[in-house]
Symmetry: C2
Subunit: 647 residues, 2 copies
């Protein structure tokens, strides 16, 4: 016999064992007065805590349908000004109280957060609610819900999470802000009898009322007996309609009861407390995080033709929506052999919209296209010269960069970059050309081994590239290689070292793939800060498979890890809204960028070594394979910086 | 660097690559006229195949939310009479057409299956529809839906499956029966405007109508001018109400349109074809499969006190519902040290209900309790004697067995069985005592090694046990050990060898744990048949964690593999129905029992060796680690038996 394990240890635990009587080993002490839970359960008569579990989870938790309940504790958050902080409220039915295939419906409500001095963070403006929706079974999409009150369907045996975000305006007075998130088990709309039973019932009412109208409509000049007769007939009809089951819920004559007061004793209240401190996170992020948006995907999915008014609108909507995430979007179209056309503004440089886009203080960097985005009369070369001359004269020129080729792999591709960069530098010697790479040219090895060849790329490309943007994948878990990379960069020539992630690195290293841990998503930015790069690039935020219908199912591209190249979803997939739907991973990118501002503040006071030490001391981030899986160290880091940096 | 894999093979596939232009590599050729899919999609104007994928899956497939679409092909099934055959229809939205968080709603409908000679298998009776609901994320619960027409919510990016079962009555004329399963994308009820927008709107209508009534109610004796005035006022009010948005869908004056004719061209039709052949599966299953039902769980969850009228009702409901699965239920209460009180009828032997239960031809075996189930005046010993004397005189006595102890582990427990069995045999020498075991007594080894000791149990227990019921776990993948077990059994003394599964064996062996493959579930019975056991026992079909509310969330018991001890769910968890909800695993148990009838028919014609050969030839089942993962061999086996055994 090749079975392992002692059979005696593996017999089923059954009722009689280890608990006596019917103790199955599970204590359901929370169910007290069960008479209200027998038969049909009326949620308006039962405290909601008998019907649902409610508990809080940090923003780095991936709260899926199988998440198991925890004790409910009050939420206490810390945020600077111009910062977003988020928390999740998880809800799971204990019992089913709906007659339908749902376990039941809960009403969720969030109040404003108020300070004792009367300042407010207003629900719907500074406080927002979104439902966490699984993608491929993994919690990822954050679909907006109605505020301040919304109804949510709960399924038997499944946990639902609500993502609560608080955006603290730059001008918000510091202090403690308190509010409540309220969960009330309720009947469904249909059960609330706000509805007719079916369309035929409603049609019946309509017909009776029309007959009634016909009867009393034309009475002018009619003999009084007939007028009285008609009025009596109408009276009878009206009485019948009003006493019909359609209106039975109003028979009390007092109109519909306002249930809110009654509900007050039954609901579950989650205390939300936020300490706003007077650190104002910079409007322009300290670390430019440039993120690609495929214009092709927008054109196909939303059916907008390149260069039309709708196309400009669609791009502008995306640009503006993404700015809230403290990233610097660039639109991108891929050509042959990974040549890319990248542009942050679809308009020419002399268009007022370009100035509006580039001057936005939330934008840290913008891509200038090498050739016209929308065909125009000019030759490409004239176009480039004209654009550059206009932009050089602007205050925002320091944000400009040219991104010409994605990951050149051979001499021909490297030469193409050199040629284009030469053109650019001929018109603007101070222009920044960005090149992403993870190796030298494969057909002309720069060194005997791959990593040495990779290190020699700056020397090989100089002066045709200023921003050397390397894959984190190359570094692997060898953080010590970072110093070798940096040694090749010449900051005195305005050269910069940036990094990027895409397919790689993979688990357990930080990246934004679906299915990674929340701290792993957030650690992408911790890694950047620790390694000392001065910028970051991500290839795509909307790179779904091709679709030509706005609400078409989201499919990740074949051959890519799920979630790679996708940081938000089209709103149309989840509701009638056109507003994009953020992923959890996009929120964690934002949180990571905010963490960098905290670390930068701390380092500006105590030096970079202390900034690195706090990462280590709290256990938040020690290296690409050694970072926290738990949320606590993040709060410890932030709390320590609050404690040591507040005035 | 410790990264593996060539970077060149792993660069992201992007728009320009390998397809030219915007070919992302995904051909969505099915979306033809896309003008109807721009903006708000009206499902009543778009062919449903543009909005949803519909395809068929065999009953052994576990169709979860992530299941990917396949081509739609017609369904062709084979069934004997008194057989249930099932198929799954999977539905997944291609786009979202609902404004809500659903992707959309589909109407599903199934017709009767009709033969050319006019015979029918009627929907709602012989043809039933159930929705496949995931438990712990794994498709398992089969929740009944309305028939013949039902509406189903689809979620973005998720596949929903409908389980279609056809129960062929014993008297059904053989022949080919054809029908259709029809899927139509539709608007939600709310969108169909059968509803008021909300309760306040309905209240507004109610108030206006009440005012109108007040105005015209009391006109008797009023001056004619006032009567006319009041009638005019009422007219104005009525007109306003009738023209309000509440009734806007009736403005056409023609009443609500019947959309059914229009829908006909838009829906997706799945052809269902069933060949009924003239093999009538025996009413009494050839293999007794006795399945435990915890009475404690029923008492706790449904709040029925042991011995009350409600308690008898609850047990009867379970007994009768389970008989459709061709299993022989026994109720069970666990005592100390795995002593069990088992009984198929809660009533005493002389109660008419006991006769009704035991005589049911679908019941293959029944458990007789050793002591009173519900306390009565008699001493336990008198009780046993009285019961046995009554039952021995009945025709159904041959089905009776006594199951006294679950898996005795030491001499004390073995002795207890001997004592009880002696009592029983004193009153009925021909009584069958069943003992489950996987080892000899641990404190008095019967042999130097465990397996030898296990083999010696029959010799050790004889004559106190007739049904030696051993764990499949003991055999492991060593099918050759079966002959050693059988060699110890004396059929000439009416001894039988039965088997059981519980926690073990585990994957990849056949068992009923959640998350195992469908063929693995079904193979439990294939294994029994191949090994030659003459009966089967399963410890529990409703052994959830303790709960005291009928609709409380289902929790599997800690320490058990998910699904172990659970073959059905309380209906209250999923709807307002009290009818239990079957698991996929219970359906596959039934299918396995039906497979045994096919194999038995074939063996009765061609001998057991040929019966074993057909398992091997089709690749359906070769051993506990070598059985099909695919459905085809099952259809091949059944088809071959149909071909070779029909008249």
């Amino acid at each position: 016999m090749n079975n392992s394990g002692s059979p005696q240890e593996t017999v089923p635990p059954v009722e009689g064992v280890a608990g006596g009587g019917t103790a199955y080993g599970w204590d359901d002490g929370s169910l007290q007065d069960q008479s209200l839970l027998r038969g049909v359960i009326d949620p308006s008569r039962v405290p909601s805590f008998e019907l649902v579990h409610v508990w809080c989870m940090p923003s780095t938790a991936n709260v899926g349908p199988q998440e198991t309940p925890r004790p409910l504790e009050p939420v206490s958050l810390l945020a600077g000004r111009n910062e977003r902080e988020s928390i999740q409220i998880a809800i799971r039915p204990k019992v089913s109280w709906s007659g339908s295939s749902n376990a039941g419906v809960v009403q969720i409500q969030c109040t404003d957060l108020c300070s004792t001095s009367g300042d407010r963070l207003v629900i719907g403006q500074s406080v927002t609610l979104r439902r966490v929706v699984p993608i491929l079974g993994v919690p990822d999409a954050l679909v907006p819900i109605d505020m301040p009150v919304s109804q949510i369907n709960l399924l038997p045996g499944e946990t639902t999470a609500i993502w609560v975000s608080i955006d603290v305006p730059s001008t918000q007075p510091p202090g403690q802000y308190d509010g409540e998130f309220i969960v009330t088990a309720t009947k469904t709309d249909a059960e609330c009898a706000a509805q007719f039973h079916d369309k035929s019932e409603k049609y019946q009412v309509y017909r009776e009322l029309r007959n009634c109208l016909d009867v009393i409509e034309q009475i002018d000049g009619k003999p009084v007996e007939e007028v009285v007769e008609r009025a009596k007939s109408a009276t009878t009809t009206l009485r019948r309609v009003l006493l019909s089951p359609s209106f039975s819920d109003f028979f009390s004559e007092n109109g519909p009861l306002d249930m809110m007061d009654e509900d007050a004793n039954l609901c579950i209240r989650v205390k939300l407390s936020l300490t706003v401190w007077d650190f104002v996170l910079p409007t322009t992020p300290s670390l430019p995080a440039v993120i690609g948006i495929s214009d092709t995907v927008i054109e196909d999915r939303f059916g907008v033709e390149h260069g039309t008014a709708e196309w400009y609108d669609a791009l502008e909507l995306h640009f503006k929506w993404l700015l809230q995430y403290k990233i610097s979007p660039y639109f991108c179209k891929w050509g042959n052999s990974m040549r890319v056309l990248t542009y942050t503004s679809p308009w020419p440089a002399d268009h007022p919209k370009s100035d509006e886009f580039f001057s936005d203080p939330r934008l840290a960097a913008y891509a200038v296209p090498y050739s016209p985005v929308v065909p125009c009369g000019d030759l490409a070369k004239d176009y480039l010269q004209k654009e550059v001359e206009i932009l050089r004269s602007k205050g925002h020129w320091k944000k400009a960069y040219f991104y010409l080729w994605d990951e050149p792999l051979n001499m021909q591709q490297y030469d193409a970059i050199r040629r284009q960069a030469s053109d650019i530098h001929a018109y603007a010697p101070d222009a920044r050309v960005l090149t992403t790479y993870y190796s030298g040219p494969s057909d002309a090895p720069l060194a005997p081994n791959n990593f040495e060849a990779f290190l020699k790329v700056p020397g090989f490309l100089r002066p045709h590239t200023q921003i050397y943007c390397t894959s984190e994948w190359v570094i692997g878990n060898r953080e010590d290689l970072v110093k070798d990379i940096i040694a090749e960069i010449k900051p005195e020539n305005n050269e910069e070292w940036w990094t990027y992630v895409c397919m790689g690195p993979s688990d357990p290293h930080p990246n934004w793939h679906l299915g990674m841990r929340g701290t792993q998503h957030r650690a992408v930015m911790w890694r950047v800060w620790k390694e000392g790069g001065t910028g970051f690039l991500y290839w795509g935020a909307n790179c779904y498979e091709k679709a030509t219908v706005a609400s078409a199912e989201i499919k990740f591209r074949r051959g890519l890890p799920p979630g790679d190249g996708v940081l938000f979803y089209p709103g149309e997939v989840f509701s009638s809204s056109r507003e994009p739907v953020a992923s959890l991973r996009l929120e964690r990118l934002l949180s990571g960028l905010q963490d960098i501002e905290y670390l930068k503040l701390y380092s500006s006071r105590y030096g970079r070594d202390e900034g690195l030490a706090i990462l280590e001391k709290t256990g938040m981030y020690l290296g690409p394979e050694r970072y926290t899986m738990d949320h606590n160290p993040i709060d410890m880091m932030r709390g320590e910086i609050f404690r040591t940096c507040r005035p």
